[in-house]
C-alpha cells in the first residue's frame, strides 16, 4: 500500500537504529501516549532495535484501557435492556466490567453489534425505528470527530431512537497528569500522530515549556516511530525541549479545523476518571447541552450503576508507566487475555496484552517468572 509500505523498510530501520545508538550517550525514558503506537512498537519489535540507553515507557494511550469501569458497567446495563441495539467498536467487546463484558451479555441474548464506523449505528437507527440504538462512543481526539458527526447527523435527520454513551478522553491533560505524578521518570513524549492530525500541534508548546520535555509528533509505522525517537534523543542530548513534527505528511500545526469546529459544537469538556489512574480534570468530553437529548446516560438513567475493580489489578501503575506488565505478580497467572483482570490485558494495544501476546515474559526485576504458568496453548 502506498504511503505505508515505504515506512517498513528493514534496511532503513537498521540505519535509523544505528543513528540512535550513535547519538545516545545517557539513559533516557521516552513515553508514547498512544495505544496504536504501543501496539506497533511491540508487534514490529521496534524497541528491540534501540540501544539500552533509550527506554520506551508505554503511557495511558489506549482509550479502551482507560474507559472508566462505571462506563463499562453502564454500557452492559443498557445493552441488556430489551429493545436496545447496542453498537460498539470491536475493541470494547471483551473489556471486563465489574462482572461481565459485552461479549457475555450478547451471548445471554442482548443485541450487541460490532460496527466499523459510528455512521453504521446511525443507519441501524433508521432501519429499526421501533428499537433504541445506542452507540458506545469511546476514543481519543482521533475518533471524536466521527462520533460528533454521527450525533450531529442524527439530530439533523430528526432521529428519536439514537443515543450515544460518551467516554472521550484527551491527550494533553494526560501528559500533564503524568508529569505531575510522583515518581514520574518520563524525560520526553512521542505525541500521537493521528490525534494531532485532528487537533494540530498547537496544544503542546505550553506543555513542553512548563515541564521541560521534548514532544515529538510521531507516526505509527516502524520508520516513523524510529524517526520520532531519533529526533527526541537528539533534543534530549542537546538539552532542548521543543515541539517537533516528525509526521508532517499527515499533521499540520493547526490540524483539521473543520473537525475542531464540529468538536467544539458537539462536545463540552468534563472531568474524567481514567480507569486505573483516577480523575484528571478537564480530561474528557461529554455531549454538549444542545445534544443532551442524545446522551444515553440520561436517556437510560444508569447513573446509579456503581463499579468494583479487582483488587489484584495494577493496570493503573502500568498505564502510568511505573510498572512493566511482566513485573505484575498477576501477569500470566491470574491475569491472561482469556481471564483478564483489567483493561490493559484485554485491549489489543493495552500494554499487558501486548507483552503477553508478543511474548515479553522475562522481567528485568528478580522475582517475576521467566514464563507464565498459563502460556499460550490450545
Amino acid at each position: 500500500m502506498k504511503h505505508l509500505a515505504e515506512y517498513r523498510d528493514a534496511d532503513t530501520a537498521h540505519r535509523l537504529a544505528a543513528e540512535i545508538r550513535r547519538i545516545a550517550t545517557r539513559p533516557w525514558a521516552i513515553m508514547e501516549v498512544c495505544g496504536g503506537q504501543t501496539h506497533s512498537i511491540i508487534r514490529n519489535g521496534v524497541d528491540q532495535l534501540l540501544p539500552p540507553e533509550v527506554e520506551l515507557i508505554h503511557g495511558p494511550g489506549c482509550p479502551v484501557c482507560v474507559t472508566p469501569l462505571e462506563t463499562i458497567d453502564r454500557a452492559l446495563a443498557i445493552a441488556a435492556r430489551p429493545g436496545v441495539i447496542f453498537c460498539s467498536f470491536g475493541d470494547m467487546l471483551r473489556v471486563p466490567g465489574s462482572r461481565d463484558n459485552l461479549f457475555a451479555v450478547k451471548a445471554a441474548g442482548a443485541d450487541v453489534r460490532v460496527v466499523y464506523s459510528p455512521l453504521d449505528a446511525v443507519k441501524l437507527a433508521h432501519a429499526h425505528p421501533d428499537r433504541e440504538v445506542v452507540f458506545l462512543a469511546i476514543g481519543f481526539e482521533t475518533t471524536a470527530p466521527a462520533n460528533a458527526l454521527a450525533v450531529k447527523l442524527a439530530q439533523q435527520q430528526g432521529l428519536r431512537n439514537f443515543s450515544m454513551l460518551v467516554s472521550h478522553v484527551l491527550v494533553p491533560p494526560a501528559i500533564e497528569a503524568i508529569m505531575r505524578s510522583p515518581g514520574n521518570r518520563v524525560n520526553a513524549f512521542l505525541a500521537a500522530g493521528h490525534v494531532c492530525s485532528v487537533m494540530g500541534t498547537w496544544q503542546y508548546p505550553p506543555l513542553a515549556e512548563r515541564f521541560g520535555v521534548p514532544i515529538v509528533v510521531t507516526g505509527f509505522e516502524p520508520l516513523d516511530l524510529l524517526e520520532g525517537i531519533r529526533r527526541t534523543v537528539v533534543q534530549l542530548e542537546q538539552g532542548r525541549h521543543e515541539v517537533e513534527n516528525a509526521y508532517a505528511r499527515v499533521v499540520s500545526q493547526r490540524g483539521n479545523e473543520a473537525a475542531q469546529a464540529v468538536l467544539g459544537e458537539v462536545f463540552a469538556p468534563v472531568d474524567r476518571a481514567w480507569r486505573g489512574i483516577g480523575v484528571i480534570p478537564a480530561s474528557g468530553w461529554r455531549l454538549a447541552d444542545a445534544y443532551r437529548d442524545f446522551d444515553a446516560e440520561i436517556r437510560f438513567d444508569v447513573s446509579g450503576v456503581t463499579a468494583a475493580e479487582s483488587p489484584l489489578c495494577r493496570s493503573g501503575e502500568v498505564l502510568r508507566g511505573t510498572l512493566k506488565p511482566n513485573q505484575c505478580p498477576a501477569f500470566g497467572t491470574e491475569c491472561t487475555p482469556r481471564t483478564p483482570l483489567g483493561a490493559t490485558m484485554v485491549s489489543s494495544e493495552g500494554a499487558c496484552a501486548a507483552y503477553y501476546h508478543f511474548g515479553r515474559f522475562a522481567a528485568p526485576a528478580a522475582g517475576a517468572a521467566a514464563f507464565p504458568q498459563d502460556s499460550p496453548r490450545p
Binding site: 500500500m1 505505508l4 517498513r8 528493514a10 530501520a13 537498521h14 495505544g35 496504536g36 501496539h39 511491540i42 508487534r43 514490529n44 519489535g45 521496534v46 524497541d47 528491540q48 532495535l49 489506549c62 482509550p63 479502551v64 467498536f89 470491536g90 475493541d91 467487546l93 460490532v114 466499523y116 476514543g139 475518533t143 516502524p222 487475555p337 482469556r338 485491549s347 489489543s348 494495544e349 503477553y356 501476546h357 508478543f358 511474548g359 502460556s375 499460550p376 496453548r377 490450545p378
Partner: protein, 354 residues
Amino acid sequence: MIDITGFACPAPLRDYPHVVMGHGGGGALSRDLIEHVFLPAFSNPLLDGLGDSTVLDLAADLAGGGRLAISTDSYVVRPLFFPGGSIGDLAVNGTVNDLAMSGARPCALTAGFIVEEGFPLGELAEIARLMGRAAAAAGVRIVTGDTKVVERGHGDGVYINTAGLGIVPPGLGLGAEAIRGGDAVIASGTLGDHGMAIMSVREGLAFEAEIASDTAPLYGLVAAMLATCPAIRLLRDPTRGGVATSLNEIATLGGVGLEIEERAIPVRPAVAAACEILGLDPLQVANEGKLLAIVPAEAAAAVLAAMRAHVHGRDAVAIGRVVDRHPRMVVMRTAIGGTRVIPMPLGEQLPRIC
C-alpha cells in the same frame, strides 16, 4: 381442532418456491426434494439406489495395508454465497481436505442438510448443484444423505454436515512425533483469502481485483507432495483461526519451537489492505484451500517444486523452520528484524479501531 403439523401436501415440488416443514417429513414431499434437488446434483450409482444406508466395497483399497480415514464437519457459514464459492463448496472441500491431511484419498461423502422453513428452493438447488460440481472436481461421490426442516427462525437458511471416508495408502507415517529440529515449514499459497472474502461481504468492502475464497480440494496436491517425499512429517489445513492456530497446534503437538519469517509469509495485496483497514491479522484469518506442511529440510526444495507444478500449490513457499529453542512456542522474525511470539488466537477476531 385440526392439527395440521406434519401435514404433507401431495402437490408437486414445482408448486412450492420455498421449503416447507413437509419437505423434512419423510413422505412424498421429501421424496420430491431428493428427486428434484439432490439427485440431479449428486447422482451416482451408489446414491441412486436410495437405500436407508449405502454399502461400500473397499476390500481392494484396503488390501495390502491401506487404512480407512474418517472425518466429519458441519458448515454454518454466513453468507451462503460469497466470491469464489458457497457453503456447498466448503461442505465438500472442507471434509475432503481434513481427510487429505492424513494423506487419505477421499472415496465417499455423506451430506446432511438442516434447512429452515421458508428457504428458497432455487437457492437450495443451486447449493446442491455446486456441491455436486465440487465433489466431481474432488474425485469423490456423495453416497448417502439426509434432510431435515426446522421452523422458521430456528436456523440460518441452511446448515450442512458432511462426513467423509478416505483411504490412507500403506506405509504412510504422518504424525507430529516425526517432526525434527531443522524441518522446513511450508505454506501452499497465499493466506487469508477465504476469511477476507467473507468479511468483505459482511463489511461492504469492494475490491478492484476481487478477493475470492480459496476453497479447493487438496488431495491432488497432497498426493503430488507425498510422491516426491513420502517422509513428510505432518500436514495441516489452517481453516478457522488461521495459520496462527495451526502453527501453535503443530508446535504443541510436536513439543517443538517454530520460527517464522514475516517477510516470507505470502498475502495478496488486497487481502493485506483489507486486513489493515479492519485491524485484523492475516495470520488469524481462515483459509479453505491451503495447507501447511512440515518437511525434512533436505527435501524442501523438491517438495516446493512439486507443489508449484500443481494448480493448488502455485504460490507455495517456505515460511519458516522447526527449531529446538523455545519449545511449544511460535516466534516470528519481524520484517525489521525484531522478534515476537505468534500467540494462539483466543477466539473470533474482531475488527478494531485502535
